[in-house]
Structure formats: structure tokens, C-alpha cells
């Protein structure tokens, strides 16, 4: 009997991944690994892809979702599953959208993929000290980010030229910002930045000597000068930190990007533009000017 009671006191944490793809697994494994390292054998883990959630499993103390599909699946679970949810590896807009769709009340927060505007502004200032105007190409999803972006960029001394592709179309909007911007900051929005449009954006920008600062290593390989992003491991470690706090009794943190971040540089593009950039130097400069959000 005591044995059963002791067993019942070990909290269960569900990690629900969108599917069994390697990226989702990496986040799940990192969270597990980090928690097990500092609190060995303290948690009963249930790691499942979204399609295989078993509602008859022991009620979890918290649910961690990896990816927007997993959050959607958890949000659709019956109302008696009331554990707080930590959504990870998804954009802030996807998080808000799934919460909005949920039919029941969810206590939730997120480790999001969107980098804080203040960090983006600090990177641009660190890499391109002479830049004066930042161009923004916004679409149906990213247009909601305009105000915080403009505010953060202006705090760092930039003027902002933003164009919405819904108003003039992609081509005219792109030409518009390239005309007078020193750098373009890409904000994730599949209508604006995708494998079809990336060619026009990068080649037109390169012709005008206007570099692109983007949000993933794939864009840097494509030709973007810089990428500012969080890796799945970094997301996992941030989730583990929040989980550890939760296990100690703290409430969920507010939705935020991981503290850790990665910077990728396309050295060939940098050289071609006459820029000599080093990651450590940029980080140092960012650290020096980083203002607390």
C-alpha cells in the first residue's frame, strides 16, 4: 500500500509532440534529460505523439506540448484534463490562435520561437552600426507584430519603413522597402517568406546591397546575412527550466522566447558586402546594449 502511495506521489508530466519527427523528439529528449539530470527519478514521463494521447493515463501535473499540432490536440482533450500546459516550439501567433480555439479554459503558457523585438534590434545594431532604416515586409500573420517591432527598433535608433503585402502586393512592397532601407528584418509569415518568394527577396535585396536578417539557419544558407533563432535544444532547456520551477510550486512563466539564442552568419555574403562580422563580437555588443524588456 505504501509502495503504491509513494508511486502515486511521483508527478506525471506528459510531453505531447506534434508527430514523431526528429525535431520534436529533440525538444522532448532535452526536457527529459535536463530534468532527470537535476531531479533524478522525480518525474514520471509520458512522451507521446499527438495522435496517441491516452486520456486514461494518470492525470499529469503539467503537459508540455511540442509544436502547434500538439497544442491543438491537447486543447481538444476532454474538459477533465485540467493540467497547466506549457506549449513549446511554436510561434506566438499559433499559441494565441490555439488557445482562442479551445473550447475549454486552459491554463497555458509558451516557449515561443519568435525572437523578442528588442533582441532583433540589438543584433541589427551590433552587426550594422551604420544602418539607419530597417525595412519590414509584413503579411496577414506578421502585421500584428508591427507595433512592438517599430517600438523596439526606434529605441535602438532606427527609423522603420514597413510595407504590407496585402496593400500593394509582394513585388511593389519589396521594391518600396528596398528603396530606402539599409537592412530588411524578416518576420515569419508564410505568405511573405517562403521557398517561392525567397529568391526574389534575396536577389533584389542583394542588388541593392540591402542585407536580410532572418529567423532560421535555412534562410542564412539561402543567402540571408544573419539569422537569429533558438534551436530545438535551446527551446528544450528553456522548457526544462520552466518545468523545474513548476515542480517547485511556481506558476507558469509568461510566454517568451528562450533566454538562449543562436546567431548564424553567412560569411560569403558578409564578405561580398564588405562586412567583417564575428559572432562573438556581435554578441558582446548586444550584451553591452541590451535593455531589459
Amino acid at each position: 500500500m505504501t509502495y503504491g502511495l509513494a508511486w502515486a506521489q511521483k508527478p506525471a508530466i506528459w510531453i505531447v509532440t506534434t508527430d514523431s519527427g526528429p525535431v520534436y523528439r529533440e525538444v522532448a529528449d532535452t526536457v527529459r534529460g535536463e530534468i532527470d539530470r537535476v531531479l533524478p527519478d522525480a518525474v514520471q514521463w509520458v512522451v507521446v505523439p499527438a495522435q496517441q494521447i491516452d486520456v486514461s493515463a494518470p492525470a499529469p501535473k503539467m503537459i508540455i506540448t511540442v509544436g502547434s499540432g500538439a497544442l491543438a490536440a491537447v486543447a481538444a482533450l476532454p474538459a477533465d484534463v485540467t493540467a497547466p500546459v506549457l506549449a513549446t516550439l511554436l510561434p506566438r501567433l499559433a499559441f494565441d490562435r490555439e488557445l482562442g480555439r479551445a473550447t475549454k479554459k486552459l491554463t497555458a503558457s509558451a516557449i515561443v520561437l519568435d525572437q523578442p523585438p528588442v533582441r532583433q534590434a540589438a543584433l541589427i545594431r551590433a552587426a550594422l552600426p551604420g544602418a539607419r532604416q530597417v525595412g519590414l515586409l509584413l503579411g496577414p500573420e506578421s502585421r500584428q507584430m508591427l507595433l512592438p517591432l517599430r517600438s523596439a527598433l526606434q529605441d535602438y535608433g532606427f527609423s522603420v519603413h514597413a510595407e504590407d503585402i496585402g496593400q500593394r502586393g509582394m513585388f511593389a512592397a519589396l521594391q518600396g522597402i528596398l528603396d530606402d532601407s539599409d537592412v530588411v528584418l524578416a518576420i515569419a509569415d508564410p505568405a511573405v517568406f517562403n521557398s517561392e518568394t525567397i529568391s526574389a527577396v534575396l536577389t533584389a535585396g542583394y542588388r541593392r546591397q540591402v542585407p536580410l536578417v532572418a529567423f532560421s539557419p535555412a534562410y542564412v544558407k539561402a543567402g540571408s546575412l544573419l539569422g537569429l533563432y533558438a534551436t530545438p535544444s535551446q527551446v528544450g532547456r528553456a522548457a526544462a527550466e520552466a518545468t523545474r520551477a513548476m515542480l517547485a510550486g511556481a506558476p507558469l512563466p509568461i510566454p517568451a522566447a528562450p533566454r538562449e539564442f543562436s546567431i548564424d552568419l553567412n560569411a560569403a555574403v558578409a564578405r561580398s558586402l564588405g562586412l567583417s562580422l564575428r559572432e562573438d563580437e556581435m554578441r558582446r555588443r548586444m550584451g553591452a546594449t541590451e535593455r531589459k524588456p
Partner: protein
């Protein structure tokens, strides 16, 4: 801005900018469709767009001294034509030969007065005219400055990549990609000397296919004391098409009509020049490390003057086919090779009395290997071989080593050999003045040669201060000169007068703030004749011993822009030693204000040339003095 398209990939300099991507496999297997944003936008794969072969070479890796004039500098300089712009490049002298109608720029010394030793390209097409003696001056006038994206000036011989005519240097003009000039533009200028210019441009399309049509007219009455008025009208077309994911096509075509009169030794002459050209260039990207280009160009020219005693009327037609293949074998080796075929024909009853139809064909093979044995060392080995149907074979090898001594500091050492083939005129002409033979070329002319050794430095002395320095020894051999074999004979065209051009030139660029830019160019040049040279042609005063230019560009509040240009040149002569051009200084000022009229951007500017008063710009016995006056003009430009 450090942007010079790879010199080794010569035809890359004709710049249709990178516009292709590879179809790449998406690791997740999902297709990104417009829809709600998800983690796939952050995690998915992207095709490589700016691959290594499409990126321009940074300036510190070019195997030659390169100066780039960008769009902003061109606009703020107030220049009305290309030759005038070149005076802002170290090593270039600028003057007006025989009058305002012939703005002439040359690198180091010219030995003639017609920009004979410089090759000028516009979007991959050489504008060097082989009509008459051969000159780039006329072609340089047929360019609309407002259409230019940038100008790359290669200071020093470049036959190894460009073949004959790239004797002293190459000026490579790249016009704006058609997708970048969608919309409209109108510009008008008016000023003293009956100056009246106008440009109207319309562009349409998008990133898949874009087109542009530009019409321009320039006219003025020239300098006050001379009969040297001109009118230049031109119509230019450019189309840039993305045919498939890996194929691009660039089409250019144009027509230029120049009418002018000039005060010559033979009286006031009315002259006319017409040029029509068309070119197509196809670029195919094979993979992220290789591509090839094929191009075809046709060019026709007509020259006519109306002076009865000595006419030089003629027409010429040229067809050029070129193919280039470039690839990056591995991080240490990059290669370019290519082939070029040209056929030129000239018809002139005046210049080739008795046999007015002349032609030649030539083949070229060129190649360059760029080897990076170590992160700090770059070796460029290349050359060009040409077979001319009349002259035979010529070759131009080049070896240059760049040493990236420290971040921001590069040293360059190189040796190159270049040549200039004689033109049909220099080989075959039979030209009479008033019944007397003036030029009778006996066909013995051979190529002029120039062997150069140079040392260069490009570096960032301070975050706001950079230096571009070139020291050179240029040995010129076999300059083509006129020489009468007997009294009463016409002049033959023969090779003689070897001499050495020695010196250094540099440019300091200072940018203390984003609103202030200062350039200071200085050139020191000495001409050292060979013992066998004829005194006149290689006199040390054939080029100014030193000359400099200073440029200040300052952004002022209220969107006002100021440019100040000051040039100083020591005394020298162009044609005869008794016609020494006195030393002069010239200061020009430009003030402009930009503003908006709704969504239209506008700029109103005024340009004052020679604010300190005019100076004598060109001297030649028998001609009235060419005095460059102080002149004011104003312009208004609208971009929609």
C-alpha cells in the same frame, strides 16, 4: 560598398544580378503554403539563392585595383556624362578635347586625344568604336547616367580578361536591373549655355519579367568662346526575364544620335554619329557552384561630317558572340574560362580610298584560376589568347597575389601584360586631304603592348578611414604613331616610342559620420621615354606629373544635400609641346533638396561648375582656346 563582380568571371561584370535558386528538397517533406504561421516556417529548408558563383567578389580579393562609383555618388556628383564622372577616380584625367562636345577621360597618359586606350563596357557590351582610329569617347556619351546601378573602374591593364583595347584600363558600367526601375521617372535640366536636358523612363513588370524604356536628350551650346554645340538623343531598352528557376535572360537595345559642331583646324565642322545596338545574354545556373553564360551582340555605327576638304564618313557593323563557364571546384579553387568571337566590318569611301569595304574577325580564348592556398592568400593566374584574322595571335597573361595581412588590410602584387590591336584604319587606311595623301597605312602596324608590375594596398586605417593605393610601373612598347616614310607620301602607321609610365595613385575615403563622406584622390605620374623614343611622343609632360581631386558629400538638415568637388591638375600637353595646358584648379558645387509630392519622390538641384571662375581646358595650335566657363544649371527629378 565593396562590390566588384569577379574580374575573373569577366562577363559577370555585365551583371544581370543573381536571380535563380535551386529547387531544394524540403527536409520535412511538407510544402509551405500561405496559411497560418507555424513552427514549419522556422524549421523548414530553403533553396540556396545567393550561391558562391553568384556573389560578387569583395574589393580586397580582386586581382586588380578597382574603384566603384555607386548610384548615390553618380547622382550627387552632378555629372552629365560618364567621362566627367571618371575624374573622381584616382589616376584619371579629364578634359574637353577641341571643345565641350568631346568630354574625354583617360587613365594615366593617353598619347592621343581620344580615349583610345581604355575599354568601356555597358552591360557587357563594349562601346569602343573601331570606326576611324578607335575610341571609347563617343560610346561613353551614349549612356544615360540615371540608369546606372554602378560603375566598376579597373585601374590598370586588363587584357587578360577583356582582350584588346583594355590597354590602360577598363570601365565597366552596369545599368539597373529592370525589376528595380519599375515605375516612372522624369528629369529635366536647364541652364546657362542653352543647356537643356531631359530624361523620361518607364519600367513595368515584376521579379519574373521586367522591362524598361528610357528616352534621353542632352543639348547645350558648349563653351562661350567656341562653336561647340551638341545635341545627343537616345532611346534605351532593357528587359530582365527569369525564364525558369535556373535560366535568366537579359536583353538590351538602344539607339543614340549625336549631332555636334566643333572648331577644328580645318574650320567649324558639323558632325554626326549614330549608333544602334542590341544584345541578349542568357545565364544558366547548373548548380550552386557553376554556371554558364552565352551572349550575342550586334552593333552598328555611322559617322558623318560635313566638311568638304577632309571627310571621314563611314559606317561600321560588329557582331560579337561570347560564352563563359565558371565554377567553384572546392573552397580553394575557382575557375572561369570562355570564348569570344567577333566580326567587324567598316565601309568608308573617305578613309579607305579605293577599297572602301574592310573587315576582320577574331577569336579569343580566356581563362582564370583563383587559388586560395591558405585563408590569407589568394593567387589569380589567368590569361587571354586572341587570334586576329589580319594580325595573327596575341596573348595577355596575368599573375596576381593578394595577401590578406590582417582583417581589413590587404596587399596585392601583380604582373600583367596587355596589348592593343591596330584598328582597320591603322592597318589599311588611305585618306586624302584636298587631293594629297594624308594617311596611307601600309599594313605593317602591329599590336601595342604594355607590361605592368604593380603593388597595391587596400585597407581600413581606422573605422572611418580607408585607403586604396596602387604603385605601378607600366612599360609601353610599340605605340602606334604616324610617320611619313618620304616627303610627299602619306603617313604610315608604325609602332614606335616605347616608354615607361611610373608612379602611384591613391584614394583616401573618410566617413566621420553617416552624413559626411570625403574622398581624396592623388596621382603622381612620370613618363620616362626609352632611348629610342621620339622626343615629342614620349615627352615627360605628355601627362600631368601630379593631379588630385577632392570630393565632399554632406547631408544637411531638411533633406538638403551638398557636394563639393575640387580638382587640381599640373601643367601638361595633349598634342604638341608648345601647346602646354596651364595648371588649373576647378571647384564645382551641387546643392539639392529632396521632398515628396504625395507618393512621388522629387529632387530639385542646382549645379555650379567652376565656381572660382573658368580655366583653359585644352590647347591645340590652330584651334581657338578651349576655355571651360563657369556655368550654372538646375534640374528637377521626379520618381513615381
Amino acid at each position: 560598398m565593396a562590390l566588384a563582380y569577379t574580374l575573373a568571371m569577366k562577363t559577370c561584370l555585365s551583371c544581370s544580378a543573381p536571380g535563380i535558386f535551386l529547387a531544394a528538397c524540403l527536409a520535412t517533406g511538407q510544402v509551405l503554403a500561405a496559411g497560418p504561421v507555424s513552427e514549419q516556417d522556422y524549421l523548414g529548408e530553403m533553396p540556396v539563392v545567393l550561391s558562391v558563383t553568384r556573389l560578387a567578389q569583395p574589393l580586397n580579393e580582386t586581382p586588380a585595383a578597382v574603384t566603384v562609383l555607386d548610384r548615390e555618388l553618380i547622382r550627387r556628383s552632378g555629372a552629365r556624362d560618364l567621362a566627367e564622372l571618371l575624374r573622381l577616380v584616382p589616376g584619371f584625367i579629364f578634359t574637353h578635347i577641341e571643345g565641350a562636345v568631346k568630354p574625354t577621360a583617360t587613365y594615366h597618359a593617353d598619347y592621343d586625344s581620344i580615349t583610345r586606350h581604355l575599354d568601356v563596357y555597358v552591360d557587357g557590351r563594349s562601346v569602343y568604336s573601331s570606326l576611324l582610329v578607335g575610341t571609347a569617347s563617343l560610346g561613353m556619351m551614349g549612356i544615360v547616367l540615371e540608369d546606372i546601378e554602378r560603375i566598376e573602374v579597373l585601374r590598370g591593364s586588363n587584357s587578360a580578361a577583356y582582350g584588346a583595347n583594355a590597354f590602360l584600363g577598363v570601365v565597366n558600367v552596369v545599368t539597373r536591373h529592370a525589376a528595380d526601375t519599375v515605375g516612372g521617372m522624369i528629369s529635366v535640366s536647364a541652364g546657362q549655355g542653352n543647356l537643356r536636358d531631359g530624361v523620361a523612363r518607364v519600367g513595368w513588370g515584376d521579379s519574373h519579367a521586367a522591362f524598361r524604356l528610357t528616352a534621353a536628350s542632352q543639348a547645350d551650346d558648349g563653351f562661350n568662346k567656341l562653336a561647340d554645340s551638341k545635341r545627343m538623343q537616345q532611346l534605351n531598352f532593357r528587359g530582365d526575364l527569369q525564364l525558369t528557376g535556373r535560366d535568366e535572360l537579359t536583353l538590351t537595345a538602344g539607339h543614340a544620335a549625336l549631332d555636334w559642331n566643333s572648331d577644328t583646324e580645318y574650320g567649324v565642322m558639323d558632325q554626326r554619329w549614330r549608333n544602334s545596338h542590341a544584345r541578349a545574354e542568357w545565364t544558366r545556373t547548373l548548380d550552386s557552384a557553376s554556371q554558364f553564360k552565352l551572349s550575342a551582340t550586334t552593333d552598328e555605327e555611322l559617322y558623318r561630317d560635313f566638311y568638304p576638304l577632309m571627310r571621314a564618313d563611314g559606317v561600321s557593323r560588329r557582331v560579337v558572340l561570347e560564352g563563359t563557364y565558371s565554377f567553384v571546384a572546392n573552397p580553394a579553387w575557382r575557375f572561369v574560362w570562355g570564348t569570344h568571337y567577333r566580326h567587324e566590318q567598316v565601309h568608308s569611301v573617305d578613309l579607305f580610298a579605293g577599297h572602301p569595304d574592310q573587315s576582320f574577325a577574331s577569336w579569343r580564348l580566356f581563362g582564370n584560376a583563383e587559388w586560395r592556398p591558405h585563408a590569407q592568400w589568394l593567387v589569380n593566374m589567368g590569361g587571354l589568347w586572341e587570334r586576329h584574322s589580319i594580325i595573327g595571335s596575341e596573348s595577355a597573361p596575368r599573375l596576381v597575389v593578394n595577401f590578406l595581412a590582417a582583417p581589413g588590410h590587404t596587399l596585392r602584387v601583380g604582373a600583367t601584360s596587355a596589348y592593343k590591336l591596330p584598328t582597320l584604319f591603322e592597318l589599311r587606311s588611305s585618306w586624302y586631304l584636298d587631293g594629297q595623301p594624308m594617311i596611307e597605312a601600309r599594313g605593317g602596324a602591329r599590336s601595342e603592348r604594355i607590361d605592368t608590375t604593380e603593388i597595391g594596398y587596400l585597407g581600413q586605417l581606422h573605422p572611418t578611414l580607408s585607403l586604396d593605393f596602387r604603385g605601378f610601373v607600366e612599360k609601353v612598347k610599340g605605340l602606334l604613331r604616324y610617320s611619313r616614310p618620304c616627303s610627299g607620301c602619306g603617313n604610315d602607321v608604325v609602332n614606335k616610342d616605347p616608354n615607361t609610365q611610373r608612379g602611384w595613385e591613391g584614394q583616401l575615403r573618410w566617413q566621420p559620420s553617416p552624413d559626411t563622406q570625403v574622398f581624396l584622390n592623388h596621382t603622381r605620374l612620370s613618363l620616362v621615354p626609352d632611348a629610342t623614343s621620339s622626343a615629342l611622343n614620349t615627352d615627360p609632360y605628355r601627362a600631368p606629373r601630379h593631379f588630385s581631386s577632392f570630393v565632399l558629400m554632406q547631408r544637411l538638415p531638411e533633406n538638403i544635400d551638398l557636394s563639393l568637388i575640387h580638382t587640381t591638375t599640373q601643367s601638361y600637353f595633349w598634342v604638341r609641346k608648345d601647346d602646354m595646358l596651364p595648371a588649373f584648379r576647378q571647384t564645382d558645387l551641387r546643392l539639392a533638396k529632396s521632398f515628396r509630392l504625395g507618393t512621388t519622390r522629387a529632387e530639385a538641384a542646382m549645379f555650379l561648375r567652376a565656381i572660382g571662375g573658368g580655366h583653359v581646358d585644352y590647347v591645340q595650335r590652330g584651334l581657338p582656346e578651349v576655355y571651360l566657363d563657369r556655368r550654372l544649371h538646375a534640374s528637377l527629378r521626379l520618381d513615381f
